[in-house]
């Protein structure tokens, strides 16, 4: 078997990479795919908490790379889906503990046993980013519809285009009312700038936070709006043609540019 390795990245921190990784992983597992989630954020381990698996960790990614254990020993099996696994990050090491070449080897090995290898990338564009991206065949970039995450997403897309094809985009935490009031960028504003394929839009939803704290991601809750959105994104990843419900077009703020004034 040779699975698809997808890195989930954003540049900016706090836009929902880890939450998205957990939801996409669970969503794909619900479609009976064999999935492994790799927490690439060495030193700031979070994915285990969102997944509600933190008490089951024995070994971690750095242990595997250093040869202190076998890959299968480090994989934490999900409590809901036996064919979903987590390869946790180390909380006590630094990003420099591994290098891109080691990451490539590890991901190649995981691709033999899983349909999907989802890699949760740390914020930033330094060593941690280069490690996380190294083994991936595809990338999903997450942004919120705010000016600075969009600019950082743009930077990351530029970097990704050097090493792989165009990434796909998820716009997270879209608040339709704020867009209509012109207080937030709209979907079309973001797409005009980033000019990549839109994989989906996740609406702003308090349940995401509650679910993250409980270790039970929203994609498992068919009644939540954000959970449904993740469900649709998962089907799109699997190649289904699922329309994206039009949340909005253009918003405000981006074009706070106006007439140019000159000065010497």
């Amino acid at each position: 078997m040779s699975g698809r390795a997808i890195v989930i990245t954003s540049g900016k921190g706090g836009v929902g990479k880890t939450t998205a990784t957990a939801n996409l992983g669970l969503g794909l597992a619900r479609h009976d795919r064999k999935v492994v989630l790799v927490d690439g954020d060495i030193g700031l381990r979070n994915l285990d908490i969102i997944m509600g698996l933190e008490n089951r960790i024995v070994y971690h990614l750095v242990d595997v790379v250093r040869g202190r254990c076998q890959v299968r020993q480090a994989l934490v099996k999900d409590k809901r889906f036996p064919h979903l696994a987590l390869l946790p990050a180390s909380q006590v090491d630094q990003k420099e503990a591994i290098n891109p070449e080691q990451m490539r080897e590890l991901v190649a090995q995981l691709k033999e046993d899983f349909d999907f290898v989802l890699i949760d990338c740390p914020a930033g564009i330094e060593q941690g980013f280069r490690n996380a991206v190294a083994g991936a065949d595809e990338a999903i970039v997450i942004t919120t519809p705010d000016v600075s995450p969009v600019r950082d997403a743009d930077r990351v897309i530029g970097l990704l285009q050097n090493s792989m094809g165009d990434p796909q985009l998820i716009i997270n935490r879209m608040a339709a009312e704020m867009v209509q009031r012109g207080d937030m960028l709209g979907q079309q504003d973001v797409l005009d700038i980033l000019a990549v394929n839109l994989l989906g839009i996740v609406p702003e939803d308090d349940e995401v936070i509650v679910a993250g704290n409980r270790g039970a991601p929203v994609v498992l809750n068919d009644r939540s709006r954000s959970g449904q959105a993740y469900g649709r994104i998962v089907r799109r990843i699997l190649g289904e043609d699922v329309p994206i419900p039009e949340l909005n077009g253009y918003g405000g703020f981006l074009h706070r540019l106006g007439k140019l004034f000159s000065r010497r």
Binding site: I157, I193, R256, L257, G258, K259, L260
Partner: protein, 234 residues
């Protein structure tokens, strides 16, 4: 003043175009560098923060030499405005290092017009068939034609005009460093800041929702940058 067989290794001249540092182009570079350090320490910070022109003559400058010189200049608080170098390889190096370059010092007004005319006839342009994202930069001593968008956080510096067949949101500097004749044309001209020659314009923060529906041109008129609809001719 440091000399080599009666020739000055380093001279500072107050020319009309600005204070100009002339580096001897025959002597070894370390010798020149020593002369620069001596002369500048003698000047007691007189040139601190003043924009200076660096004249390398026909020297073939390498990267290490330039970095060493840059260190010295930086230490003395000097801001190179542009460099003059006869050797094309030196010009290319300096331009890639982010310093505007010229082949010779600007000539008096009546002569410079003639030079510009020939330059326009045989000018070089860089054609870029791709967009520029945040963090990407292009520096070119000539006109730049770009098919794609230039996003916020991207930078393009051109010695001449800049034509963007797409949306301009990032920072472009046409006529870099001081060619006020240069223009910027874009299908959608919405940068936060725009530079032409010695002028800088910034977006009006009061105005929101500017979404120009047609191509526009930015140029210098009466000592300021103005933006007008592009009517199909300059």
């Amino acid at each position: 003043m440091a000399q080599r067989g009666g020739v000055d290794l380093f001279t500072i001249k107050g020319l009309k175009s600005g204070p100009t540092f002339l580096f001897d182009d025959q002597a070894s570079f370390p010798a020149v560098l020593t002369a620069v350090e001596e002369e500048l320490s003698r000047s007691n910070g007189f040139f601190r923060d003043s924009p200076v022109i660096l004249h390398f003559g026909s020297r073939l400058l390498n990267k290490e030499e330039w970095w060493n010189l840059k260190d010295v200049l930086h230490r003395e608080g000097l801001q190179p405005r542009y460099a003059v170098a006869v050797a094309p390889a030196s010009r290319e190096l300096l331009y890639k290092e982010g310093l505007p370059v010229r082949e010779h010092l600007p000539l008096p007004a009546h002569e410079s017009k003639k030079i510009q005319a020939t330059a326009a006839g045989g000018s070089t342009a860089l054609y870029l068939r791709r967009g520029f994202r945040s963090g990407q930069k292009e520096v070119f001593d000539g006109e730049v034609v770009l098919v794609g968008d230039v996003n916020q956080g991207a930078e393009i510096l051109a010695g001449g005009d800049i034509i963007i067949v797409g949306t301009l949101r990032g920072m472009v500097h046409a006529g870099y460093p001081d060619n006020a004749e240069a223009v910027v044309i874009a299908l959608s001209l919405v940068p936060l800041q725009l530079r032409i020659g010695p002028f800088i314009a910034r977006a009006d923060e009061e105005q929101n929702h500017r979404r120009p529906q047609r191509p526009e041109i930015a140029r210098i008129k009466d000592e300021r940058i103005v933006i007008e609809p592009y009517q199909g001719k300059l």
